[in-house]
């Protein structure tokens, strides 16, 4: 127990990230099912408007910040050091700190479900209810007087710190900890996409931090940053939020693109087609992701020039994305294809992401977008991208790397059930939303009338959502069953090409008995020019120093929710206690003996 609380081992932190994020994923899924149950018939099944608002807000917030991002982080943690031939990340204690801050931030924001009585509310739940985008001035004290929005803005600030710390850590790790011979253009595609993602994280999160701080000043101290009565402009919130929010979309999708770029070549027994182009288009997406944010705001009326510019950039960014898709398809072409579950999910990713990408381009046209804004068409788009894209990609990664992470393979039979239930379920759930949306069904409204003519579509969507829920249960059973009954994985169950497959599963605490010399992009494969890398020695030729654990990352992390609780309850002394905890933690951390 203590060894898990103080761990600085990237592999253990990766597993902690996985199980925590998976827990939040189940919670976010449950919230989605409440929404779908309510929408199963006209006028709903009795969920109150108030609770419905909390459900869609927490579903979005949870899935984006507490499920998809940290599930990606689980793979960054576990896989990146292995892929680049390193013994750990650059800053192991900072890595532990990121995890604890993420966990505590997630618990803080979800504590709002039970905190009502503490704030004198007449109901149990005072969960955030302003949407995951928290548009001003709905979030102002005037229109949201309860603590709901405070939980949201404080929780997101905490989570931002976790992401930023991890961002610095992984940028340095990937750039600086590569094994000898692993030049940047020998870096596995997943590591490359992670690098681009982390650059987006460290540049996008400061922007939302500023937005949240300004909102906090409005709510706690009575400023008017987003309040028209005092001269403030609610549109500024939209700019700041989407200036963060659109890079965030690529923060969510690029890791999944990286995973798929590992899985498809392995199961086609072919190198990734156009590796360099895939890498450069990933970098290009990273840059262009900064120039499209206002396409979320066409309905705000920014004028013809702004609309035209952002329409053009939105369509342009589809080009590097399309390039990647053609490269993945060309990777399959002429390959020796195998179809284990990981491959099925990767192919699911490519096909579903195309649908999500196309509806995304259709939003890029302002006249069309005005018809689609705030309808279920947008909900369809976002779910094809984030579920059909990111989540299927993450599932591909889970089936691909789970043997490496635990030493045992997930059941293929249950895996196939999981895939097909998910695939059918998601299309049943999300495809009809294109139609219900274009027929005029607004999103974020807790009921609809039978006369709108969308009842049939909604019934199908609800059935699909519960199928996804069933599929997720199958996956959960698979995870648990594998702990005892999974087939031993060996070093390399799939015949992979990258360094993580050169070492035992699960890897020993020091990862590599000797740090490998890398001479090609596919070190474990025989290529025209290169013989496969010689196997590593089974035992380390010399004793390997492994960093010990530390309590201080967790201790320091605890200061942040204390500060947030102080702010929430307007107790300045409690905020100061939190600050003192953070400062103490930093000093103890900086001056404890810790050799990496």
């Amino acid at each position: 127990m203590k060894s898990w609380l103080t761990t600085t081992d990237h592999k253990r932190i990766g597993l902690l990230y996985f199980w925590t994020a998976f827990g939040f994923f189940l919670l976010g899924g449950l919230e989605a099912l409440v929404i779908r149950a309510q929408l199963a018939k006209p006028e709903g099944i009795g969920v109150s408007a108030e609770f419905y608002n909390q459900m869609f807000t927490m579903h979005g917030t949870t899935m984006v910040f507490l499920a998809l991002m940290p599930l990606s982080a689980a793979f960054f943690n576990f896989i990146i050091p292995l892929q680049i031939g390193a013994r750990d990340v650059a800053f192991p204690r900072l890595n532990a700190f990121s995890y604890w801050v993420f966990l505590l931030g997630g618990l803080f924001i979800n504590a709002s479900f039970l905190a009502g009585p503490l704030f004198g509310a007449d109901r149990l739940s005072v969960a955030p209810d302003g949407g995951w985008f928290g548009y001003a001035n709905l979030t102002s004290k005037q229109f949201s007087p309860g603590p709901n929005i405070d939980f949201w803005l404080l929780g997101l600030q905490i989570l931002g710190i976790a992401s930023l710390a991890a961002g610095f850590n992984f940028i340095v790790t990937i750039l600086n900890m590569r094994a000898p011979g692993m030049k940047m253009l020998r870096l596995p595609a997943f590591s490359w996409m992670t690098l681009v993602t982390q650059f987006l994280v460290i540049t996008a999160f400061p922007v939302i931090t500023v937005a949240l701080v300004l909102l906090m000043f409005d709510r706690f101290f009575g400023t008017h940053f987003f309040i028209p009565a005092g001269g403030g402009d609610p549109i500024l919130w939209q700019h700041l939020f989407w200036l963060f929010g659109h890079p965030e979309v690529y923060i969510l999708i690029l890791p999944a693109m990286g995973i798929v770029s590992e899985v498809l070549p392995t199961f086609s027994r072919k190198p990734l087609f156009g590796y360099t182009v895939v890498v450069y288009s990933g970098v290009l997406i990273g840059f262009m992701g900064w120039g499209v944010w206002s396409h979320h705001m066409f309905a705000a009326g920014l004028g013809p020039i702004a609309d035209s510019v952002f329409s053009a950039t939105t369509m342009l960014i589809a080009v590097p994305t399309g390039v990647k898709i053609f490269n993945w398809i060309a990777t399959l072409w002429g390959g020796q294809l195998r179809f284990p579950t990981a491959m099925l999910f990767a192919l699911g990713f490519v096909s579903m992401f195309i649908i999500g990408g196309l509806s995304g381009v259709s939003h890029g046209s302002p006249p069309a977008d005005l018809q689609q804004t705030d309808t279920y068409y947008v909900v369809a788009h976002i779910h094809y991208v984030l579920f059909g894209g990111t989540m299927l990609g993450l599932f591909a990664g889970m089936y691909y790397w789970w043997p490496k992470m635990t030493g045992r393979q997930l059941s293929e039979t249950l895996g196939k059930w999981h895939f097909w239930l998910t695939f059918v379920g998601m299309n049943l759930a999300f495809f009809p939303m294109h139609f219900s949306g274009l027929l005029g069904m607004p999103r974020r409204i807790y009921t609809y009338g039978a006369e709108l003519g969308v009842t049939g579509f909604n019934v199908v969507s609800t059935i699909g959502a519960f199928l996804i829920g069933a599929a997720t249960l199958v996956f959960f059973v698979n995870l648990l069953r594998t702990r005892r009954h999974g087939a031993p994985a060996g070093n390399d169950p799939w015949g992979g090409a990258t360094l993580e497959w050169a070492i035992p599963s699960p890897p020993p605490v020091y990862n590599f008995t000797v740090i490998p010399q890398v001479a090609s992009r596919l070190p474990l494969w025989r290529t025209e020019r290169q013989a496969p890398m010689a196997p590593l020695p089974l035992t380390p030729p010399a004793p390997i120093h492994v960093p010990g654990g530390s309590w201080w990352p967790m201790f320091t992390a605890f200061g942040l929710p204390v500060m947030a609780i102080g702010a929430l309850s307007h107790q300045v002394w409690l905020v100061l206690v939190g600050v003192a905890v953070v400062i103490t933690g930093i000093y103890r951390w900086a001056y404890e003996p810790f050799e990496v």
Partner: protein, 191 residues
């Protein structure tokens, strides 16, 4: 925290992380400065910037902060060549000049409050206090950091072997200084 390993890029990992952090901070201050500029001239009531900003006084503060950067350079140079006596002196001078700047900011804030410009008075007040206050917080962190190094040096625990730590502290200090140059120009000089 010694970083004995050879790194792929030849740059120390802590230093690289710090450069990434500075890049991230640019976006933080960039967003705050943009907010200030967007709301410039949008205040519904006074006091307005030209009625209240005291350029000669703040020019002195700015000069003070610039000199602290010079002291920081001298501190690092001294510590790198092993002259801890000079190093200690200049570390303290850097922190002291930082404290003078903070004192100036406290005086400025209380003077503005007295003149009727509160945090919530108008958009100018809100954007001004949040922007310069965020910068002041950064200066405060820097002063605490510098004093920590100074105390370590007094106790004989900071020597040329820790020059990299001092260098990173210097990176932070110079960055905070550069940000102030931008704020001084945008808020005070270009009205």
């Amino acid at each position: 925290m010694s970083q004995a390993h050879a790194t792929s890029m030849g740059l120390d990992s802590r230093k690289m992380a710090f450069w990434a952090f500075i890049g991230s901070e640019c976006l933080l201050f960039g967003s705050l400065i943009s907010t200030y500029l967007i709301y410039k001239g949008k205040s519904l009531v006074g006091p307005y910037p030209h009625e209240i900003l005291n350029i000669p006084f703040t020019s002195f503060s700015t000069f003070d902060l610039l000199m602290s950067s010079l002291a920081m350079v001298l501190a690092l140079a001294a510590i790198q060549r092993g002259d801890m006596k000079q190093g200690k002196t200049w570390l303290f001078v850097t922190a002291f000049l930082g404290l003078v700047f903070l004192g100036g900011q406290v005086w400025e804030f209380s003077h503005f409050m007295h003149e009727g410009l509160g945090l919530t008075t108008n958009l100018f007040g809100s954007t001004f206090y949040v922007l310069t206050g965020t910068h002041g917080t950064h200066v405060t962190v820097g002063v605490i950091w510098l004093l920590t190094l100074w105390v370590q040096a007094l106790r004989g625990k900071l020597g040329p072997g820790q020059a990299l730590t001092v260098e990173i502290t210097g990176l932070y200090w110079h960055f905070v200084d550069v940000v102030w140059i931008v704020i001084f120009t945008v808020v005070y000089l270009i009205q």
